[in-house]
Amino acid sequence: MEIFWYSAISVVLAMFFILDGYDFGAGIIHLFFAKSEEDKVVIAKSAGLFWDSNEVWLVAGGGLLFMAFPTFYASVFSGFYLPLILVLWLIIFRAIGLEFRGHFNYQMWKDIWDTAFGVSSLLLALFFGMALGNVIRGVNLGGVKDGVSLYEGHYFFLPLWDSSFSPLSDTPGIIDWFTLIIGVIAVIVLAIHGANWVILKTNSSINHRLKSIIFNLNIALSVLTIFSLAVWQYINPAALDNFKDLPYLAIFPLLYFGGIIGLFFIKKIKKDIHAFYLSTLLILGGITSSLASLFPVILPSTNSVNESLTIYNTAASEYGLSVAFNWGIVGLILLVIYFIVQKRLMAGKIDDMDYGH
């Protein structure tokens, strides 16, 4: 049961990052590359039509995580207090930008909300990447100082940064040079994903340029990925042991690298949707590889006093998980149906599609 819920929640959250990922990415593209008013309008719209139905996946994933792994939910949400609240503010700010931009035809008004949309999309991508970086790096569970836990062993609190900015510090913060690298990788991945989305869904005048941009970003991504793997080995020599012990887990990194290799042929790919699938592989592979490297741990402890959080020591009772399985299956099937219906309805280019209000 733990493994079922772990997989189901991973899929729901991966769906969130794939779906909301393209509208975060569209925001990044909007911030850096959209120059003319027509392009700004249409790129904002390619995110604005979809963001709220995409964030439903976050709500569902959060709810399921709370139900199935309450101790993990409690530990991580209180431990990453500040960045999570910042993420909430950014989500709100970004939504304001998207929803309010078009209501007054006044240049300054539009500029404010364009910037709000672009900057908060960029920061969200960076924060989500850093969050992943924090999870794979691990945290000082129990707030251990001089061999003594300050809190119960499954609680912690991370400041935004520690003055050393080093993942090797005894008290690493949210932001250190390792998590920052992962954050930048996430920004690049989502920028590529967003660019593919813009190409797929709009007739913007920069579509052709975006392909070269994707190609260049992909080079940067390859370099950073290899660099981050080396660094990860350096700060945690056991980081990749799971893949040695369970070779079939290698499927997940293969998805990621398949995405990178495929995207080098972006200019030759005939169908835009295929390029979009490749960047989807990047996100899916990136998240699943990170999770697989830790499994069954879900939050490693950086000290030797308190044990890491796993799917077993943070799960709800067996009865609760089983009874939730019955309604969960129905719910997940419904999710897939809604998703398909909605995608079919909103298929095609969105340039002429209308907002609801």
Partner: protein, 445 residues
Amino acid sequence: MEDMIFYDRLQFAFTITFHYIFPQLTMGLSLIIVYFKWKFLRSQAEKYNDAAKFFMKIFAVNFTMGVITGIPMEFQFGTNWAKFSELTGGIIGQTLAMEGLFSFFLESSFLALFIFGEKLMSQRLHFLTALLVFIGSWASGYFILATNAWMQHPVGYEILDNGKYVLTNFSELFSNPWLLPAFLHNQMASLVTSSFVVASIGAFYLLGKSNIEYGKLFLKTGVIFGFISSLLVAFPTGDWNAKNVAKYQPASFAAMEGIFETEHAGAEIILIGQPNMLEKKLDNKIAVPNILSFLTYQDWNRQIYGMDKFKEEELPDNVPGLYYSYHIMVGLGTIFIGVMSLAILFLWRKKLYEFNPLLWGIMLLAPFTYVANITGWYVAELGRQPYLVYGLLKTSEGISPTVSSGNTLFTLLGFIGLYFLLGVLFLILVGKIIYKGPQPEPQTH
């Protein structure tokens, strides 16, 4: 520690109060939209379809606001109430996850279909999307109320040695005696807000001499729905809830009614007075003898315990707040019944559309329906104090053990600033929609 609890509670109270401005409208409004769409199917008169689409625009703005202010609610269970989440997540996580998985998805998917899909489907299917939005939003309310009902009156659980609450009976979460009365009361109250909003937009058009035909339709519909719902919110649903409080939370009942001392015979009902916590009495009291005993137990002489019968630590920690919230809710509810009864009388006599004082009255009362809904929730939540899970887990035992008060104050201030901005923008946007009116013209963005 003390200030920590204070800031955590204040942040939750502030963010949930702001959040609940939006769902209370969307839940009731979705029913009224279904009604308009149904009338359109029956009569084929375009004005009903225009009305449905117009209110769906207002619905959509409120829904968006509900989503972005709702995500912080879900997060706060973990960020600020980690211990509570750890201990009870195996139980309340069930109902909260069901809300996210079933109702929220339903509501958001079919809202998009309603708005974008009218040309792609038949009018019957379009009606069906409206109906599913309504079902989704009410189911959402139902799961949230089921969560709250468990906190008010825990059932189907077992407490392990390590203090964790584990679920032993899933179906009891839904047969909880607290749930159905609370849910129906809440939905009727939400319908009161929406009816007043619909009627007051109608009144606004009639008084402003614009969109006259729509104004009449909105006013009439709002008054009919408002009359029915403001009666139902008091009786039987409100009555039913009060009896539940008296039965399951007698200390809270005494506090909300403002009874300091137990009387030998029947208890009086307090109409006006200010709780004086120093001298443990009510200042400037106006009360009617024996009524409370009759209302609660249909027995004029039944004894009802006052606050003197309970230990200090069992009583809600904010008696005046609870007392005022309850009396404001009941007082406003009574005014709503009065005004809506008058309006229905004028409607019947065919004089409503010209009787400006009543139109002004309805329009100005609309914001107070929000006050009544929110104070109603304050009654439930302040009444549950000093517990998170009534009788079992104290509020002070539920907060995050590692988050300091400085951090919570920081985020609270941030929320206040951001929500102020959000509130202003929301009013501009809704104001613009209302001002433009329901003319069926293509929207440009």
